[in-house]
Symmetry: C2
C-alpha cells in the first residue's frame, strides 16, 4: 500500500493506494479518521460489483443512486441528505462515496452541504476517479447548462483507492482513464508515460497488480502536488486542464453521449499538442510525442462528422472562462504553459486538422 | 454610518450599518469589494419596496425569487445560478442578496455553490436579517424534513444594513426581530435591553433613525464577536441558540405557519428562563427579567392549544443534536451556559408552565 499525503487548507488528508485495501476500510477509517463511516453511497453498477463487501464490513445498508452523467444533479444530493437524516447522521458522522467520479463528485457535494458540511471518504472504483476526481477537493453536480456548474471545494478526510476494482472496469473505461494518466505525466513526470499500457486491447491484464498501484500512485502524486500548491485554482492548478478545453466542448456538443470523459480528453490532448506547436511553445518532436501517447491508448469515437464551428462555440461557454476570454493550457516540451489566449478561429482550424487525421 | 469588522477564516468582512446606506451601494461595493455587484437577487415584496433603486443604481435587472419559508429550497438556488450563467457571471463576479433572512440565506448558498463559490454582498432589509441572518457566514436552504438542513459556511464579502428599510417592515415583523435583539443583549450586553422599544404598538417610529442604527449595530457587534471566535460552532457560537431550541420546535410543530421566527424565539427565551431557574443557573430575579424582556415585545401567537408532547418531539430531531442527545443553552444572570442536558419530560413540563401563563 502506498500512502500519499495531500496538503489542503481545509486539513491535510491521506490517499491510500493498494491492491485490496477496500477490505480494510472499517479499520483504516477508524485508525485514520477516528471512526468508521455511518453510510455508504454508490451507484447501481458499483453496488452490484463492490458495495456488498464494503457495506457488510461496515454493517450499513448502502444508498444506491441512479448512475450516469444525467443523474449527476441536485436530486441525487438531496436523496443522499434525506437518507442521512432518516438514518440519524449528525455533524460528527462520516460518509463513504464508493464509485466513479460521478459518485464521488455528487456524494462529496452532499457531504459539503449536509448540515453545512460533514466529513467524507472517497473510495474511487474507476481509473478516472482514482487519478482525477477523488483528489483535489472539487465536488459538485451539473446544471442543464453544463457540467459541474454548482459545487464546493470540500476535500475528503481520506481517499482509499483499491486498484483491484479496476479489474471489473470495462476496457473502454480503463483506456479512457489512461488519458488522464498521460495528461498528468506530460505535466510533470514524463517517465510515467513508460508505464502506460498501449494498444487497442488494453485491459486490466496489461499491467501487474503492483504496476497498477505504481501507475495510479504516481498519477495521484502529480495531482496532489499541484492542488496542494493551488487548491482554489488561482494559477498552477489550471495546468490540470491540459486537454480539457476542447475535451469539454466535444462532450457538451455531443450531449455527453458519444465520448467518455477521457476519450474527449485524448482528443483534447492532441488539439493542445497542435496548438502548442503553432504557438511556438512545443517542438515538432514534442507534438509528435504527446499525440502518439494519446493515440496509443487505442481507438476512440470519431469526430469527423462534428461541425468544428459548433463544437468550438462550447469552448466560449466553458466555466473556465474569465473576464479576459478563453485561456488554454498548452504543452511545452517539459510541461505546460498557462493562460495561452487561443482565438476561436484557431481552435476551429486545429479541430479541422484533427478531422483530417 | 457604523462599521463593524467581522473576523472570518474565509476572510474578514465589514458590516456597514446606517440610515440610507443602500443609496451608496455601487460606490461602497466598488470601494470595499473592488467592483460593483453584477446581479441583484431579491423577493417579490422587497422588489416592490427597495429593489428598484438598488437595481437602477447598479444597472441590472433584478432576479425575483418567490418569497416565504416554503420557497427557501434548492430550486431557488438553481434559479439564481441559471440566471447568473445566462447573464455571463464568472468566478470573479459579485452578487447582491437584497431582502430578509430567507433571501440572504438562499442567495448566500447560491453564491457558495455557483462555479464552486463566488463573492456576495448581503443587504438585509429586515430587522431579523440584520441582527441575525446576514452576519456569521451560515447560508442554506430547507429540506422537507426541516429548516437549513443543507447549506454552507460562506461569509459575505460585505454586509450593508440600511436601517431605513425597517420603516417598510410590518410592525409584527419588527417586533419579532426584536426578540433576537433581546437574545443578543442577554448573551453579552444587558444594557442593550434598555434600547429595545416596548409595548403592544412597537413600530418604526418607536425609535429615532440613529436609535435604530445604534441598536442594530450593537446587536451585530455581539454576534460578530461570537462568530469570529467560533465560526463553525464548535462551542461558543452555540450561545446564539439561546431561545431557539423550543423556538424551532414550535415553528416545526406548526408547519412554520403560525409563528414568525422571532415570535417562536420569544417563547423559547421564556422557556429557557424557566429552565435556567430549574437548573439553578439563573436567579429568580434573572428569570423574571428575561421573561419580561420577551413579554414586553407585545403580543404573539398563542401556544395554549399545542400538545407539549408533540412539540417537544421536534426538539429531538433538531439538527443541533449530537451523539450525546439534545443540549440546551440556558441563561445565567450575566450571560449563558452551554450544553445543558434537558430531558424531554422537563421540556414538556416547562411548556405546560408557559401555557398556564
Amino acid at each position: 500500500m502506498i500512502t500519499i499525503d495531500v496538503r489542503s487548507a481545509a486539513g491535510d488528508y491521506p490517499v491510500l493506494i493498494g491492491s485490496g485495501v477496500l477490505d480494510d476500510i472499517s479499520e483504516l477509517s477508524a485508525r485514520i479518521v477516528g471512526r468508521p463511516p455511518r453510510s455508504v453511497v454508490t451507484d447501481a453498477v458499483v453496488a452490484r460489483l463492490h458495495a456488498h463487501r464494503v457495506a457488510a464490513a461496515l454493517d450499513v445498508d448502502p444508498i444506491v443512486l441512479a448512475g450516469g452523467e444525467s443523474n449527476k444533479r441536485w436530486s441525487a444530493v438531496e436523496t443522499s441528505c434525506r437518507r442521512w437524516l432518516a438514518d440519524g447522521l449528525d455533524r460528527s458522522s462520516i460518509v463513504l462515496a464508493l464509485g466513479g467520479g460521478i459518485v464521488t463528485d455528487t456524494v462529496g457535494f452532499a457531504a459539503a452541504t449536509y448540515l453545512r458540511g460533514i466529513a467524507w471518504i472517497a473510495a474511487p472504483t474507476t481509473l478516472l476517479g482514482m487519478v482525477d476526481a477523488a483528489v483535489g477537493g472539487k465536488t459538485g453536480v451539473n446544471l442543464p447548462e453544463g457540467k459541474n456548474l454548482v459545487g464546493a471545494f470540500w476535500p475528503p478526510a481520506l481517499v482509499v483507492a483499491d486498484t483491484d476494482t479496476l479489474a471489473t472496469l470495462p476496457p473502454r473505461e480503463l483506456r479512457a482513464g489512461l488519458a488522464e494518466v498521460v495528461k498528468a505525466a506530460w505535466i510533470s513526470d514524463h517517465s510515467l508515460l513508460d508505464l502506460v499500457p498501449v494498444g487497442a486491447d488494453i485491459g486490466y491484464d496489461s499491467l501487474t497488480k503492483s504496476g497498477w498501484v505504481e501507475m495510479v500512485a504516481r498519477s495521484i502524486r502529480i495531482k496532489s502536488e499541484i492542488v496542494a500548491d493551488d487548491e482554489r485554482e488561482a494559477g498552477l492548478r489550471k495546468s490540470l486542464n491540459l486537454g480539457h478545453t476542447l475535451g469539454h466542448a466535444l462532450e457538451a456538443a455531443t450531449d455527453y453521449r458519444r465520448f467518455l470523459h477521457g476519450e474527449a480528453v485524448a482528443w483534447g490532448l492532441e488539439a493542445a499538442a497542435l496548438l502548442g506547436r503553432r504557438h511556438g511553445v512545443l517542438s515538432a518532436h514534442g507534438e509528435q510525442e504527446l499525440r502518439s501517447a494519446a493515440q496509443r491508448l487505442g481507438p476512440r469515437p470519431a469526430i469527423d462528422d462534428l461541425d468544428p464551428e459548433r463544437v468550438c462555440r462550447f469552448i466560449a461557454t466553458d466555466k473556465k472562462r474569465d473576464a479576459q476570454g478563453v485561456a488554454w493550457v498548452l504543452p511545452t516540451d517539459d510541461g505546460v504553459v498557462l493562460d495561452q489566449r487561443v482565438e476561436t478561429s484557431e481552435a476551429i482550424e486545429v479541430m479541422r486538422e484533427l478531422q483530417r487525421g
